[in-house]
Amino acid sequence: MVSPEQIINGVTQVVSLPAVVMKLSEAIQDPRTSNQDIENIVSEDSALAARVLRIANSAMYSFPSKVDTINKAVTVIGLQQLNDIVLACSAVKAFQNVSQDIVDMEMFWQHSIAVGTAARLLAVQRRESNIERFFTAGLLHDVGRLILLMELPVKSKEVIEHASQEGCYLYHAEKKIIGYDHAMIGAMLLKKWKLPDSLVLSTHYHHKPSLTSQYQLEASVVHLSDIIVHAMNYGSSGEKFVPALGKKVLATTDIGMDVLDNLLEQLSIQYVEAVKFILGDDDSI
């Protein structure tokens, strides 16, 4: 059996976060950092800067006037939020060289972006302070699946066949055939990338949020978002079944079915836009 550590070592040689992510999170720690400093860092990658601006001008924010500089974006959406948007865009880009033969990347990211968008909407509903953190958590929750497909293509194929024969969840098949699942592998990569614990744990426990004592809210919101997106069939992570709702999830998130109507409507609008802005070609800006 290939150990999880070996897999992570293998994958980090191919997939890495761009330097701007580290630079930005360092700058944010420094109280002397100005909006202009942030603009200078993000603008080093002009495609990234353009992407961030498109997101700041999207329906997610519905800001009445145009946000045309990173400096202004920091004011409108906040520094920590901007940091999370940069991270989300960079993570998608980090995997851009994964072969299309193994997985339909477009469908994969559509699913992930939809989960991020739903998580963000649930965070808004709960009046959370950093809603972008929830978006990023949703976006990253299934990266482990990409890693397994890249590093263990033959086993991954077996997993998919087993799940379809038995009619079971993919993550159950992963545990049975590989020995561990995509949630654990994904969390290990995020940890290796030195991302915050909230992202590591919400990824690790997105199928079983009650098993984590720390960041249980984040894990529960991602869990619920994943269920909603599977129900709506947006994109595809390879999973054919809607995950079963964890027992404590509605109580932990304080979300009731009365929000579904509005949530599904907002999701259908914002998800399409988020996909276009994050996956769209740089020259279509």
């Binding site: 129900a231 069939n233 579904l260």
Partner: protein, 110 residues
């Protein structure tokens, strides 16, 4: 009283309840008579649909009749996707129900 999408609003209609934006910020009060300017503001602040007073105002979306066979086909697909979900749970039941309507409506629209 009727629930109306912001895109279907007309000036002169009267709000049946207070309206808040996505972040819970108060925008307009109950009994406010809508002008074009109000409607633009609602759109800009990302409000989806609101309750409007009056008996003769049509509910948004209610006029659309989805063919029975399309609904049944989508229902069969969705029940398969929900095969492992807990169908005793109210939230899950509501999600299944709404997802069927949503998907059927979007296919019918195409």
């Amino acid at each position: 009283m009727a629930k109306v999408k912001v895109s279907d609003l007309q000036s002169g209609w009267v709000l049946a309840e207070d309206v808040h934006d996505l972040n819970g910020r108060f925008l307009m009060g109950k009994d406010c008579e809508l002008t074009e300017k109000h409607i633009r503001a609602l759109r800009a602040w990302g409000v989806n649909s609101i309750q409007v007073s009056g008996d003769d105002i049509p509910e948004s979306g209610s006029a659309v009749e989805i063919p029975e066979d399309l609904l049944t086909a989508v229902q069969t697909e969705q029940e398969k996707r929900f095969a492992h979900a807990d169908m005793q749970d109210d939230f899950t039941k509501e999600l299944l129900h709404q997802s069927i309507l949503y998907i059927a409506r979007s296919r019918f629209g195409k």
